[in-house]
């Protein structure tokens, strides 16, 4: 009985190792590519939709106020990513 259990444990360990290798080769690079693409689209969205927070007049501003909650949680990371140490004047006060 013990020998069989030991064999099963060894097989499980090897499966986990195989899965980790598979993930390292196939999934991890894909992960960062997806993440980069996500950030790119997200940043374009922020710039397009919320230019008023950068001081650029935006006639659409009043019709997109419902998006502000989505915006604020990402705003800090976004302005840092854009190279602005502090949030632009007139925008959310995140830091």
């Amino acid at each position: 009985m013990t020998a069989a259990r030991g064999w099963i444990e060894a097989a499980r360990r090897r499966l986990r190792a195989a899965r980790d290798i598979y993930e390292g080769i196939y999934i991890a690079p894909y992960r960062s590519a997806i993440h980069r693409e996500y950030l790119r689209r997200h940043d374009a969205f922020m710039l397009l939709g919320f230019s008023d927070l950068l001081g650029v007049p935006n006639p659409m501003q009043f019709y997109m106020l419902e998006l502000y909650p989505w915006l604020i949680e990402d705003f800090h990371r976004w302005h840092v990513r854009m190279g602005m140490e502090h949030p632009p004047e007139g925008g959310f006060r995140c830091c």
């Binding site: 999934i27 894909y30 992960r31 997806i34 993440h35 693409e37 996500y38 689209r41 997200h42 374009a44 969205f45 397009l48 939709g49 008023d52 927070l53 006639p59 659409m60 501003q61 009043f62 019709y63 997109m64 106020l65 419902e66 998006l67 502000y68 909650p69 989505w70 604020i72 949680e73 007139g90 925008g91 959310f92 006060r93 995140c94």
Partner: protein
Amino acid sequence: MTFPRRPILFFGGKGGVGKTTLATAAALEAAAAHARTLLVSTDPAHSTSDILQVGLGPAPRPIIADLWAMEIDPEKEADEYIAGVKARIATAAPPRLLEEVERQIDIARVSPGAVEAAIFDRFTRILENEGGLFERIVFDTAPTGQTLRLLSLPELMTTWMSGLIGRRKKVGAMARMWRNVAGSEAGIETAEDPILAALEERRARFHRARAVLTDPERTAFVFVVTPERLPVWETEKAVEALSRHGVPVGAIIVNQVLPDPEPGVTEAAFVSGRRARQAECLARISEGLGDWPVLRVRLQDTDPVGVDALQRIRPEVME
């Protein structure tokens, strides 16, 4: 010549050119032709109530046969629009962040264009709701400027919002993919459905409104202008901007045109009549604005042009 006969009429022009009076006249004409007519007034000075001598409110109220009228209070409309936004986002962020979001929304509320944006949003809802109940709707819109920009924006609005909603959906799709691959430690939120629903509803409503507003069979925009340099110049710009965006201009109404002299009739009686009307307004100025220095400048027979002419009109205090 009669007012253009379309199911929907908008009256545009600077403040004081007589939009409210003429819009009311157009509504009366439509009702006289037995078309079930709604007059929508946005005048914060309640001129329509004064003209019709009837208290008006935010719901259509019968005036005479086939004529109903309603009055939108622009500031209240903006307050309600903002309240609606806040209600929809109440659960979309934790309390600390929500406070900052609401602060930003309050700043937007007092920005230029907020009131006009709220009124336009209301107009699109009137077109859908009351539009089904009335054969003719006459709007006395706000003065030229922001309102005209919004009316000429439906095309841009539709394109922009479609782009934004599309991108947000893509961001949502990417976020889901990211979450599936990375597991639960990824910090990317997916879209809140009620917010997306509100944006989609607004976009669709603006899209439908745009179809109506650019259909020359259904809509005409009537510009009211007075025969003076600046109103004429502004109206030329406004007409050009609207035409460029496909909004049908139905007529230009030149208001307050001095009548031609009639042979055998002195013009003194006409001038006396105008002076009497003017006296009422001058009295109102003394009453309402008398706390501040009030100076009067005589009406000239020509527009002062050149330094000499301008020297002549240096304000004189009239006793």
